[in-house]
Point group: D2
Chain length 460, copies 4
């Protein structure tokens, strides 16, 4: 039975993890099966009960209709009672007692959410790693590729594309490590029974909880976290970080890929079987839309609202919240799905990105030396004093802009400027040298190398 990812699934459900109805169903049934095995191991269910429930759960995961169960959620406010009834019917009578024993609906839903989070964070970290590897390749290859740096969407001073890619890389590695930590440390089984005491298991509760955690490979918490939703927030924060790192890259790519800038583009590859070219437009053959970058932004722009919903939902009453808990279910899954999609698109983007160093250089040169005004000013300062140096270069720059001539020409052509330069012995060669963007890169390469070294360490 195929997952229904809807009419926009190619964009938003691409991370490989099913967070829809069937995905939830599977995770809930995995939880019920693990609980039966844990009860058997604890001596609270007959031998074989764990295997019997596990077998039934496997069948149920493939055959039950999520939407039908979902409809029954209206009666009690969640789908677990209906699911438990169905599962119990599918289990031999002597094992039926092991189904859901000691558990409450929230135990099943919360633990299933943790299982979904593990799947999704695993996929996300892998895709972030692939994206980071791609960026590391770009950073290394373009360590010396000059381009204009841009602040407030205006041209500023020279940078390298290697530095840009190193910045992308650094945030990807940070986000990946954070997501990895959450996956490793913060995904815990939920098992508390009706109100967090596991009373129906007498004093066996904590032991069963430990076995359940072991069965599922999740942590066992100090105590049930029914209304302590910090784990949910931690997963949300990991997704927020991952999506922020990806969004920044995607925004840069859409901007650098503007035809008027033209410094990068997404490679399209060959048309598909139906003759459709990726990112193309049948009507406008010149179009090459940066589909991956756009899709990433389509995903990441939804993350803040979802994170806010989860943070707001953490205010939960007493031993189970009336509404706030319910409000987590779909947003939690949506957040995992969208972060997963964005990361998957990120890996594709990093693998396809075509860089045009010639266009980068051309854009830099088209600024006619103005990005180096600060540098020239610094060169003249020792001889002229800081203020006089600045004023001189400022006048030359203004002239360059007004007259539409290069800064070099403006510096050398204005008689009073030339005079002053000669007086303090600043030669044309020194000015030429100061106007070379390759000579005004500061620590660009050092930062690039540091990012690459850190990536190598964290990729081990």
């Amino acid at each position: 039975m195929a997952e229904d990812t809807g009419l926009f699934g190619g964009v938003f459900a691409r991370g490989g993890v099913d967070t829809g109805g069937r995905g939830w169903l599977r995770a809930m049934l995995d939880t019920e099966a693990a609980l039966a095995r844990a009860l058997e191991r604890a001596g609270l269910a007959p031998a074989g009960a764990g295997a019997a429930v596990t077998a039934a759960a496997t069948t149920a995961a493939a055959t039950l209709d999520p939407a039908a169960l979902g409809g029954q959620a209206a009666l009690t406010g969640n789908p677990v009672p209906a699911l438990v009834r169905e599962l119990t019917r599918m289990v031999p009578p002597d094992a039926a007692g092991a189904v859901h024993q000691g558990a409450t609906s929230q135990d099943i839903i919360d633990t299933a959410a943790m299982l979904l989070a593990r799947q999704a964070l695993t996929a996300v970290t892998a895709d972030l790693a692939a994206t980071a590897d791609g960026c590391a390749g770009l950073a290394a290859a373009h360590r010396d590729t000059l381009m204009i740096g841009r602040t407030l969407l205006q041209q500023a001073v020279p940078v390298t594309f290697g530095l840009v890619a190193a910045g992308w890389l650094t945030s990807l590695d940070e986000a990946r490590q954070a997501a990895g930590r959450v996956a490793a440390d913060r995904l815990a089984v939920q098992f508390g029974g009706a109100a967090g005491t596991l009373a129906s298991l007498g004093t066996d509760g904590p032991r069963v909880a430990g076995l359940l955690a072991a069965e599922l490979g999740l942590s066992c918490p100090l105590m049930p976290w029914h209304t302590d939703r910090l784990r949910v927030i931690d997963v949300g924060a990991a997704c927020a970080g991952a999506s922020a790192a990806l969004a920044k890259i995607a925004r840069d790519v859409t901007l650098l890929a503007q035809p008027e800038v033209g410094e990068v583009r997404e490679g399209s590859g060959p048309p598909d079987a139906g003759g459709v070219r990726r990112g193309g437009s049948s009507a406008m053959p010149h179009k090459q839309n940066p589909v991956a970058a756009i899709a990433i932004l389509g995903c990441t722009r939804r993350v803040p609202g979802l994170v806010a919903t989860l943070v707001a939902a953490a205010e939960q009453e007493h031993q189970r919240a009336a509404g706030a808990w319910h409000a987590e279910w779909e947003p939690f899954a949506d957040l995992l799905r969208l972060t997963g999609s964005a990361a998957s698109w990120g890996a594709e983007l990093a693998g396809r990105l075509i860089v045009d160093p010639g266009r980068m250089r051309a854009n830099l040169d088209a600024a006619h030396g103005l990005p180096l005004a600060e540098h020239v000013s610094g060169l003249l300062a020792p001889a002229l004093g800081r203020v006089a140096a600045h004023d001189l270069v400022a006048r030359a720059s203004a002239h360059a802009v007004t007259a539409g001539v290069p800064l070099r020409e403006a510096l050398l052509a204005l008689p009073e400027l030339r005079e002053q330069l000669e007086r303090v012995g600043v030669t044309q060669e020194r000015i030429d040298s100061a106007l070379d963007p390759a000579g005004y890169l500061g620590a660009a390469r050092q930062f690039t190398d540091a990012a690459l070294a850190a990536h190598a360490r964290c990729s081990k």
Copy 2:
């Protein structure tokens, strides 16, 4: 082919409008069909083309697989190109030219979104009206039912349950009227072509746009609204208002239904076929969960994040946004779905609510007169002066609280108090009268009547 509403559909997909893959598919195909008819009416497509495309669209709406089309969205960033290819294949060759002529993908998606909004807002206003009627019934029936008013979750002064229900009613009516205005005034066809000029239709564009609007029963805007997203925000605001009105009621119900308060409960009706009692718990026969109120809160708690996403997405670049537009699709549909669910639950809640006037009176009486301290103080002020009156009652109140006796007893028992009262001629009868909560209701009935009258007017 059934809609997949997922594993939580009974809670969150209850409004009767399909906002999932098939719902979108249907709305997009309705738009394509209407466009073909509009082109034919404009003389830009051969006679019969409109009907032919409409027939094909009807078939396509029932047979195409949303998820399969959705998968193809990955190539171009949206599912419309794949949908147009499929639809064109299903249309006779001579009508094929009428498919999607003049349109761009965004025209189809945005117009489809407006069609979904119309369906959903129609359902929402109907359900709000039903909820309001229920509340009007409660307000009228309990116009004189005394209860304690509660501020900051503490007991304050007496109110009536009629006034409480009148407050619910007033906000439902406000929200319904606002939603109705948006449905009537702000849902417009989107038709602009590649970049909002409709260039491929020469000078016929506006005429076709007008005919398309007429075919769909939507407004025709001044100009394409590709990157003017105020209509999206207006729909969002209507949903926010509706859900806020419902959320307030639901929160009150969950609080009033606490066993320690016990002033209202949701009727459960008879068990279903499987023996499951609505709101019940198999283990705990005393439990009667207010499922409708909880489900409403589960829906409405997600609205702020979705609205924020839509508001943020309104910052759209140039003639079509790279990501921000895409970020609207699912949240817009989710917002309609959740508001629809909340309104549907609201109608059920209002129809089922069981009010316990006896318990209301008992809770009021259990406050032992303290809610009337302000009233008594006002009674004594003319004789004693305001400050002295306040001090006297404050002392009596403190004594009542400490000694655990009614305020009346405290007032009459303390010798120095009794003396003062006698001195200024305040009889026991006057105190008894001031301690009657029915005498301290201010404008409660006037406000209730005003709300009922306004409801009667707006229901006409």
Copy 3:
């Protein structure tokens, strides 16, 4: 005593309305003064009490320290009790009874919030009108100014700058009208006393409420709206719409002002007294940052979160909420302040925007005819059939891109293409004509004129 607008006030507190401590203080005191006058008019306070309280409130508004009162808010959870004490001290004894009579703290804070909203929305609508007038001027002046349309940040087909400005204009007018409606219809006095019954005023409550509304020029609601927060949401939605309209313009300006695009820029005007040039950088004389557009985005990016906070806060318990109401105060004021700032920046931006039609034309021409490929294809379709025409132009376009030659040259140079064109009698003149962007503008001028006409109507 100056308002403290903080270290970022020039950016974020520019709308001219004081929404800080003193602004709130003034609005609260205006409310208390109006209440005293209303009580006097109702015969519930001695003659002259209204004037006496009004005089004291005027003094208090200028002399009391908001921060000191704010500190006292810790005791009771809001600053009104402390304010009332101070105000009462400043009033002659015989008028003291008229201070705050019948009111509760929430009455004062909510009504003050409505007064702030009126001030802010008045300023916002005026600034939106000024911005719209500026955009109307641009639309009229550039009705025929060709530029490239851009979708997904890629070049698409030709548009006019007049159409772009008309789109800005239309959304500004929509937003302004919506804000005006909220200001006119939805700002109401709050007056309900302890729990919404006005019990301490006996049966006089509604009459005093009406007089209070008249004194303040606000609407008188059906009943107190203590926990019906739809008015707050409506103000929020008006701000969201205004800020969305402004954000779209600002985003376009930052993109069009990129040096590589260069189609618009913000004029800087002369340097200020300290020699600082607006939008300039002392180090980089070529820089001309679009400060207004950036500041608008700095404001508008915060609006979604604030709106979400207000929508979430609308779920309020019983007769006064424990926390949700308090959570509205600062965000409501922040939202008004930021929308006000953004609108003020908008008016400046519209007044300063310098358009470069030459650069627009140059960018269009630099696309070498590719934006007209769709047009050429349409020209050939009648002769060649739609598919063949598309294929032919697609091949020519691909060749143009690969070879770096204009589309025209590619169409005419490839032997097999030229042959086919000759065969069907498409002359070079017709191709030249189809490649003229001025001939492929569709309804651009019609839409522009419609927007201008609508603006003229709504400006009357």
Copy 4:
């Protein structure tokens, strides 16, 4: 010069950290001073320059007017240029060159933000620790205090108040540790110059960055994080976690403090100098509002929107964002301020909370045994079989509810029930024992002890 915390400061600006205009000013000047010292240590500024700039900065922090500087932010979009001019004027000429050398405005603002975050997180972790200590005290003292557990705001099964407090404790400790980790690991100096290369410092940039970090006690990042905003998100997430932990407690307290529940209240302490009683109401002497809990909710309800704003703002263009960066400033400070206030209120709340074990017991007993129905059913199951046992107890429970008698009476009174019980040898004593809530607490004490032990470990 006093901080202006506005008219609501007692509620929302209580954490002890000035995040307003002067707080920002101080942090920016601390950064400029540290930079001068770092430059001197690096040999890039004359001896004594560091001390001279530090002295001037100290004076400037006390004397400059934030609002005046803030007004000048309008010219360039941020207040740093104006601040640097003022500071430079206050420094002796020979040290003037060390002011702001190598830095750009963003370096100063971002580093200042990190300093504010350190102050705030330090205060927050201390207040969380105090709150946690208070909760640990409650958990230990009430390890055996029985109360009814509540799910979905309905009574469920017995718990202990010790377990409730242990749950609060656990989330406080989790949140505190997370905040501590962010404070220790993620607060880094920002130093990148015009576009992240530190070009104006030649190759000395990274060395100066390291010294700057050392001067300020912040981390030195791999590379400038101008447009990598994960640190901002991490601070936001730490605040979200802290506020979520506090919000849950505050919500529980407001609910438990309802007069109809009455299980806890906030102690009011003696009236203040003006006779105002904390949480009191002059008119209603019986009122005892839980001010701390309400104030916490007033703060925490605003956190989701602020976090969403910061997450959304992380999509930043190129080397400095046009608007998204600016949109962080105030929300970042607001988030720190509100989390700080909430934590400060939390410490007060935990210190003042008065628990009423008698009322807890009374509320539990008022449920007449129904919370033990599950337990009784489990007792009978071995003898009767699970289904029959459940049915029997369900019938008894239904009878108990309908007849208004205790479950015990219902079980023993119905003839057919008594018969069956006698038949399987279940004595009245065993039923009495099963109906003892103290016998149905499962792992409550184990969980409480685990939380206390973990707290002891993490408090070392």
